[in-house]
Symmetry: C2
Subunit: 410 residues, 2 copies
Amino acid sequence: MGRTGTNLPKVGQYNRAVVLDQIQLADGISRVEIAAHTGLTPQTVSGIVRRLIVEGIVREDGLQTSNGGRSRTLLRVNADAGYAVGVHFDPAELSCVVVDLLGRPLVTMQRPTPPGAGPQRVTAAVAELVDEVLLTSGVERGRVHGLGLAAPGPIDQAPGEIVGPPQLSGWERVPIKQMVAAATGLPVTLDNDATAAAIGERWAGAGRGVADFAYFFFGAGIGGGLVLGHQIHRGGSMNAAEFGHTSVRPDGPPCYCGNTGCLESLISPAALVAEARRRLAAGEGADSDLARLDPASTDFDSVRLAAASGDPLAVEVVDTAAAWLATAVVTVANILDIDLVVLGGHGLRHIEDRYRRAVEEALATRTMARRIRTVRVELSPLGPDAAVVGAAALVLHATYSPQVSELLSL
Amino acid sequence: MGRTGTNLPKVGQYNRAVVLDQIQLADGISRVEIAAHTGLTPQTVSGIVRRLIVEGIVREDGLQTSNGGRSRTLLRVNADAGYAVGVHFDPAELSCVVVDLLGRPLVTMQRPTPPGAGPQRVTAAVAELVDEVLLTSGVERGRVHGLGLAAPGPIDQAPGEIVGPPQLSGWERVPIKQMVAAATGLPVTLDNDATAAAIGERWAGAGRGVADFAYFFFGAGIGGGLVLGHQIHRGGSMNAAEFGHTSVRPDGPPCYCGNTGCLESLISPAALVAEARRRLAAGEGADSDLARLDPASTDFDSVRLAAASGDPLAVEVVDTAAAWLATAVVTVANILDIDLVVLGGHGLRHIEDRYRRAVEEALATRTMARRIRTVRVELSPLGPDAAVVGAAALVLHATYSPQVSELLSL
C-alpha cells in the first residue's frame, strides 16, 4: 500500500524518455527549447542528447536561426534507427503494419480473419502475415524492437490472456501473448484494441501533447482509451475506458455484457441496421432510398451512405445514434474533466461529421465545467488504421515514452 | 506540450513524502519495512527518517521483534508536530475542525450558514468559527500549517474562485480563497467539497493505500472525488468526478446543469421527497406510515427513516434511487476500472445499507471486468464529517503526501 519511491537510475531513464518525447513531438527542436519545455538543465539535456545520437536514435538535422542571430542545431528522431510491428486482431480482419521510430507506416496489410477460427489457426495466420509484411518492407527481423498486439478485451495483462471477448466464442482465457511470441520470435506487448488506438493517437494522431483525453473507438463495438495526466489510464485490471458500456438508457436493450441500455447496444453498426429495418418495416421512410431496396440488403454501409447523401430516414437513424453518443460523452467529460475527445475507428466512416457536431454541441451546452472551458472534439487523423498503427505504437511507447509508473516502480 | 523532466531536489522531496506516507499509513513501521515497501535503499530511508525526527514530524515509538530475534524501532508520525484547520462551507451549514498531523480531529464545530448570505458575511462567519475552534482546542494559530476550504463547485482553482454554484444564487466568481486568507491570517487551500472528502478518505478513511477509487458524496446534491494511480484526479479545469451528472435516464427531468436525466436529479434528497409525495398523491402506499401524515410534512428524514423501518412505499422510493445509483456506479467502473467505490456524506444516513447492497450487486453482475476482479464497496468510516475532515486533510495532503505532479512540475 502507498506509493513507492524513486532513485537515480530510474530518474535518468525517465528524463531520457522525456527528452525523446520532446524530440518526437516536435518537427525539429533545439537543445535550448527542450530544456525550456522540460525544466531540465541544459547540461542534462546535452548529456542525454549526446547518448541518443551515439545510439543512432536521434540525429542533428538543420539549423534554426534565433532572434539573437545565433543559430541552433535542430534535433529529430532518426526514423530508421529501429522498427516495430503492429498487429490488430479483429474478429473480422487481421491487420499488420511495420512502422519506423516516428510511428510512420512502411507497409500495411490486411487479410480476413479465418471465420470461426480458434487460437491456433489465428496465431498461425498472424505469423504468416508478419512474415509477409517484413518481407515486403525489407526490414530485417533483428531490427524490429517488438510486436504490439491489439486484441479485443477483456484482457488479463499479467498472463497475457484474452478473456472470452463477446465476439469470439470459444476464446476462453487464451494465452495469446505467449502463442504469438513463440510463432513470430518477437517480444509481444498485448493490449486492448481501443487502448492501443488511443496510444496511437497520443503518438501520431490527434492526442499529441494533450494531457487528458478520451478516445472513442468505433468498430463492431464501441471501445475507448483514456490518457490522464499524459499517461494511459488502464485501470487496475487493465480494462478501463469501456465507453461502449456507459449505460445511457435504462429501459434499453439488455447488453451481452450483463448491463442494460449500454451505448454500444444502441449505436453499434448492428444496432443502427436493426433500427433502420425496424423503421422501414413500420412503414416509415416512404421518401427514403432505403425503402426502395430489398430490406434484407439494408446493411451498415447502405445506412451510413444514405445518411451521408441526406436520406431522411437514414439521417434520423444516425442522428438518434449521435444523440446517444453525445450523452455518453457528456457523462465521460463530467466524470473526468478532459481537454479533448477523439473520435476514431472504421465504424465512423461517412457519419463522422454528424457525430462530431452532436458531440461538440453537447459538450458546449451540457457539461458542468462548460463556463470554465470548452472540451475540444477531433476526428482521428489515423482513420481506420488507428488500431494497427496504435498496436505498433505500443512497442514504441513502451520503449520510449516517459512512464510515471516506471519512474515509481520497484 | 509533452511531459516535464525531474531533478534531484524534486526527487528528494518526493522520496521524503513517500516515506512519510508509509509512516502515516502504518500503525508503527520500521525503517526496514519502509525500504521494502518503497523500493528505496535502507540508506536513503535512514537519512530521510533522521531529518523527519530532527524536525519533530516523526518519532521513534516502541520495538518490533522480528523472526531473527533482532528488534527494530518502530516509527510513528508525531501527531502534535503541527495542525491543520478544515472548513466545509455548505449552503446550509458551516463546519470547522482542527486536526493533528495524523488527521485526527481535536475539536469540530458546526453552525448554520447565514441564510441567503453573500460572500462577505459568510467569510466573516468562517473567521469567527475558526477563532472559536482554535480557542476551544487550545492550538496556537502559529502552529497551524494552513486552512483547507471545501466549497461547492464548480471552482476555478487558479484565481481561487467559486464559480456560481447552483445552490448559491448571487455567488458569481467569488474570490473566496483570498477573502478567507485575509480574514483568518492563514494560508488557504481551496477545493471542491467532494474532492476534499475523497482526500479525507485517502488520508484517514476507506481509501487508505488504495490505488484507484471513486468516492461518491451524498449531500444536497451528489458529488464525488477520484483517486487514480494514488493521485487525486482533478481534471484540467479542476472539476472532475461530477458523478451526480452522469446521465442515466435520457427521458428524465432536465437538470439545472444543462444536461438531462442526471443521477442527481433522480436521487437527490429533494428528488426522493418529490417522488414519495407523488406516489402518496397518486393514492399509493395505503399501508405506508407516510400516508398517515400531512403530505407537506413528508421530508427527506421522514422518507429515509420510514425506509429504514421497512415502510413499503419508502422502501420502494429508496430502492428505486439505489438502482439509479447502481447504474451510474457501473458506468464509472466500466470507464475507470477502479478497485473500490466509497459511499459517503450525510445524505446516506439510514439508507446506506440499501444503497450499498444495490451497488455491490450491480458491480458483481454488470461490469465488463467482473470475471477478472470484483470492485469493492465501502461505506465511508468518516461519515457526515468526511468533507470537513477532508478539508483539513487538504492541507496535510499538500504538505506531506507524495505528489507525482510536484515531482514533474517545472
